[in-house]
């Protein structure tokens, strides 16, 4: 089922093959590791094998004596340049190279620059680091114990491992609702630590031109402009002498938002050697040291009436931020947008408290298509609704339908202060239920459960007359998730990253022949900006998307803006593209008026032309106007020639995409194995510019959600050893685990976005894990299982059935 989205002005919206594919299908992409410069050297990072230890000595003499090594950089050398520590996006600091202690396994300790990548790796073996091991803090739930070792003794006045306390909502009103409620239910749940794991790891090529003093950095960056400013602030280099090029990016998912220590080391290596230095992580480095996601230990409580009206929600979160608070979110939102945890329901009151703690694990927390922790919020509320449904004996679809916000309630101000822009939630849920054939699925499940129970009573399979011998002993589970996303950060009065407002620029040049070049500040990692943004401009100017070239990923060629993450490209930068195109169109109006010898006020824009009102045959299209704008045509006093324009878009609010997901699983209670039989996803992301790309985004997010729910976790042992450090241990879904996704769409435009679009990049990742978990827990209902933590591996499911749930984040049972 495809979107019922309008074709847009000029018919420019709609499914359209991607411009970027011409190079990718030929193997002609240009990723950072494809960059090869004359004289380029290669860097490698020496990492800590221990989770917590004091460094007593580092001996680099043997490495420096290696014939192909050009330089070895240590934390001490960086300290002499004031670069041993760098600021994080959460106003903490992170060690570039450790000087005092190592605080997680895989932390950066030294950097070797050599002639080739193999020699750089060889030389790492020649560096001798003396460590004095310290007890690690591995379990977040013990981080605040009075006797817990203090991880961040580098911070003056830091007594324990608390990073922050943050709350949202009205505590007193919530307490009152709970005290008076007919029914309250509580449930502990973990959203485990996962890693975005883009197929291309992180890396950089840094080239300092010793003559011009200009630093060029090719980097796997989702935010090249923000990186440029950060490099200037960290290194002291003048910002106009820094150019960040983010070429083709092999997937980001939030992993490529921060600046990592290896990047800084490559820059220092280039300055030191006078030659370009490339540094690319290997897969283990990527999984063990760069931005993880989630690690939220949550307790939810829900209050309701006995007939199923949801009244309140109370949440307590322990947030594991790792060794440095490197969470990448708007700076004034330490728990990201977790405050939208009231989800899609009209509640009387809600309150949450989040406590962030340090542990001896890699830094990060906000990454992996999470929309700044809306993922955790949606998982929490959608699990709690199912827990309540079980408690009340009400069908989970019926309970949701009863409590969903109604269209007339929009714009809706939530109990925690978020203003949802638009939505028709019941319509989306009804569509998903229809597509799934929900009543039939439930009937089938009931019959199957009865057969299963008869068989259990009868003994070994196939023994009871009337049951097919050898029939599979699997149980069907049906799980629903209804999510409301909050994307498009954000309004400059409320949202910034280290003081940089979350606005995005766009500039549009129209050449004399009417061909256009759009410069944008966001950076595609596969989202298809080169196509979608051309469609946006084409719609506004009445030209073909083929005639719009989209330039991105090079700070010397594009206007400033905060980049692509949190599903913000279309809501913010896409709006900028539409606005700048409208500016060009207004400039064209004046030129057209001069051409047509009419007053600008007498012209109307129709069918891709400025034409004289009442005389539709008299008009000029953009190509004709562009040529005239560059000619000697006489223009009114004060009117400049050409059509080029620039803008900066400051979003008035976030946009709130939503959707209804239904997952059907088969669970083998004998082995704990879960198979996803069907997945129905109805998404409403407002106006769809290119539905083909939108559906691709949803497909990918669904696979991500399935992976998180069933197999992905970065766990640790008691010593703080990372147990998810390769793709042999950190499991990703393949074509075998993923079903053929069944998509549906509704279209509720955003009232405040120039073209009514909302953003979709992370919707499916946000919405799908709860549907999968709800389905598995539903399948396990005959065993009395009310909850089980992700990932629902066979071992975790089997243990849940045995009534001995597994702690999935630790190898300590």
């Amino acid at each position: 089922m495809t979107a019922a989205s309008p074709p847009g002005p000029n018919g420019a919206y709609g499914p359209r093959r991607r411009k970027e594919d011409a190079r990718f299908i030929r193997g002609r992409g240009n990723y950072v590791d494809d960059v090869a410069l004359p004289g380029m050297l290669h860097g490698a990072v020496l990492r800590s094998p221990l989770a917590h230890a004091r460094i007593t000595a580092i001996d680099t003499l043997a490495a420096e004596a290696h014939p192909r090594v050009r330089t070895v950089i240590t934390g001490q050398m960086l300290a002499e340049r004031g670069l041993a520590w760098m600021p994080t996006l959460s106003r903490d600091v992170q060690a570039v190279l450790a000087t005092d202690k190592v605080r997680f396994q895989g932390q950066e300790v030294a950097f070797v620059v050599a002639d080739d990548r193999y020699a750089a790796r060889d030389a790492l073996e020649l560096i001798d680091v003396s460590y004095e091991p310290l007890p690690p803090v591995v379990d977040a739930r013990r981080a605040l114990d009075p006797d817990a070792p203090v991880i961040r003794d580098d911070i003056a006045g830091q007594a324990g491992n608390r990073v922050f306390d943050w709350e949202a909502g009205d505590r007193a009103a919530t307490d009152r609702v709970f005290a008076a409620a007919e029914v309250t239910v509580a449930q502990d749940m973990l959203y485990p630590r996962v890693h975005p794991a883009p197929l291309e790891t992180c890396g950089t090529v840094a080239a300092m031109d010793p003559v011009s003093g200009k630093l060029t950095v090719w980097s796997t960056s989702q935010a090249p402009h923000a990186h440029r400013t950060m490099y200037a602030l960290v290194t002291g280099l003048p910002e106009h002498k820094i150019r960040i090029v983010s070429p083709d990016i092999g997937g980001g998912f939030g992993n490529k938002v921060p600046i990592y220590p290896g990047y800084i080391c490559a820059v220092v290596g280039s300055i030191t050697t006078g030659r370009p230095v490339k540094w690319m992580e290997d897969r283990s480095e990527n999984l063990m040291s760069t931005s993880f996601a989630r690690d939220y230990h949550m307790r939810g409580e829900i209050a309701a009436t006995t007939d199923g009206r949801i009244l309140g929600l109370r949440v307590r979160v322990l947030a594991d931020h790792g060794a440095f608070n490197g969470a990448a979110q708007p700076t004034r939102f330490p728990a990201g947008f977790f405050g939208v945890f009231t989800g899609s329901y009209a509640l009387e009151a809600a309150h949450c408290e989040v406590t962030g703690v340090y542990t001896n694990k890699a830094p990060g927390g906000v990454a992996y298509s999470c929309s700044f922790r809306v993922t955790e919020a949606v998982y929490l509320v959608e699990r709690m609704v199912d827990v309540l449904a079980r408690e009340l004996g009400i069908d989970p679809a019926e309970l949701r339908m009863k409590n969903l916000l109604r269209p007339a309630q929009f714009p809706y101000r939530s109990a925690t202060g978020w203003e949802y822009d638009s939505g028709d939630y019941p319509r989306a849920l009804r569509l998903a239920l229809d597509m799934a054939g929900y009543p039939a699925l439930r009937r089938e499940q009931a019959a199957e459960r009865e057969r299963y129970e008869r068989r259990q009573r009868a003994g070994p399979p196939g023994q009871e007359p009337g049951l097919a011998a050898g029939a599979p002993d699997t149980l069907t589970g049906i799980g629903i998730s209804f999510f409301t996303e909050a994307v498009g950060a954000g309004p400059r009065a409320q949202m910034d990253i280290l003081g940089l407002a979350m606005t995005d620029g766009a500039d549009l040049r129209v050449h004399p022949t009417g061909k256009a070049v759009l410069g944008i500040s966001v950076q595609t990692q596969g989202q298809g900006h080169e196509t979608t943004f051309a469609q946006i401009v084409a719609a506004e100017l009445g030209i073909s998307p083929d005639d719009v070239e989209v330039v991105h990923g090079d700070t010397d060629r594009t206007p400033f803006g905060l980049g692509t993450y949190g599903s913000r490209s279309t809501p913010v930068s896409g709006a900028a593209a539409a606005v700048v195109a409208r500016k060009v169109r207004e400039r064209a109006r004046i030129v057209a008026a001069a051409m047509l010898e009419a007053a600008p006020a007498d012209l109307e824009w129709a069918d891709g032309r400025w034409r004289v009102r009442g005389d539709p045959d008299k008009g000029k299209n953009i190509a004709e106007i562009a040529m005239a704008a560059h000619s000697g045509l006489e223009l009114p006093d004060g009117v400049e020639g050409h059509l080029d324009a620039a803008t900066v878009y400051n979003p008035p609010n976030l946009t709130y995409p939503f959707g209804a997901y239904i997952c059907v699983v088969d669970v083998d209670p004998g082995t704990g194995k879960v198979s996803v039989r069907r997945f129905i996803a109805v998404d409403d992301c407002g106006v769809r510019i290119n539905p083909m790309i939108v559906e691709g985004q949803v497909h990918g997010g669904l696979a991500d959600g399935l992976g998180m729910a069933l197999m992905q976790v970065v766990a640790f042992d008691a010593e703080g050893n990372c147990l998810g450090g390769s793709f042999m241990d950190y499991l990703l879904p393949t074509s075998m685990e993923c079903p053929s996704w069944e998509l549906g769409a509704t279209v509720t435009p955003s009232p405040h976005h120039p073209i009514g679009a909302k953003g979709v990049g992370e919707s499916a990742t946000v919405g799908s894990p709860a549907a999968v978990v709800n389905a598995v827990v539903d399948a396990l209902a005959p065993f009395g299982v009310r909850h089980a933590d992700m990932p629902l591996t066979p071992a975790a499911v089997w243990r849940a059935i045995q009534g001995r749930p597994l702690r999935t984040d630790l190898a300590i049972t």
């Binding site: 093959r17 092999g250 990918g700 990703l732 074509s735 053929s740």
Partner: protein, 169 residues
């Protein structure tokens, strides 16, 4: 070794991986390195007639053998139907896994010209895509199978789509 019908001779370290030889020595950067452990398949190329993960093949093991990479997937400037299929069906997003996926898909269609969706999924099960959720990759391979079936039954070939100009270099 012969790579995409061109012969190369080089003295290399015994430990040099085939993927690094192709990328760093020959400049054939279409094949990608993704995981080190043979799990992701971004590095899949053909060794003689078989897809292999070139991150776990030594360059020296390809001595005297034929290697085919994505750069050699087309025929005399024409794209392979598999390449058309991926562009037609939105079978790629970031493009990083795409060359490896296409090399395996080509092998599959050479051995099973009419694969079911399940057979396509099984053939690609040793390779990871982080963007597409696989559905459109399956459709892409089916598209190529149908295009080739139509060509075999000598139906008039469809107009080749324009995916933009071939970039020189």
């Amino acid at each position: 070794m012969t790579v995409n019908d061109t012969e190369y001779a080089a003295d290399v370290e015994p430990r040099l991986l085939l993927i690094h030889f192709l990328r760093d020595h020959l400049g054939l950067t279409g094949s990608h390195w993704g995981c080190d452990t043979s799990n992701c398949g971004a590095c899949v190329v053909w060794l003689d007639e078989t897809p292999v993960k070139s991150c776990t093949v030594l360059a020296a093991m390809a001595d005297g053998r034929r290697v085919r990479t994505v750069e050699g997937l087309g025929h005399g400037g024409e794209l392979d139907p598999v390449q058309h299929g991926f562009a037609e069906c939105h079978g790629l997003q970031c493009g990083f896994c795409t060359p490896g996926m296409m090399m395996t898909a080509r092998w599959l269609l050479d051995h099973n010209p009419d694969p079911s969706a399940g057979e396509i999924r099984e053939a690609l099960s040793g390779q990871v895509c982080r963007c597409t959720g696989y559905e459109n990759i399956v459709r892409s391979v089916r598209w190529a199978a149908e295009r080739e079936a139509a060509a075999r039954s000598s139906a008039p070939p469809g107009e080749d789509a324009d995916y933009g100009p071939e970039v020189a270099g």
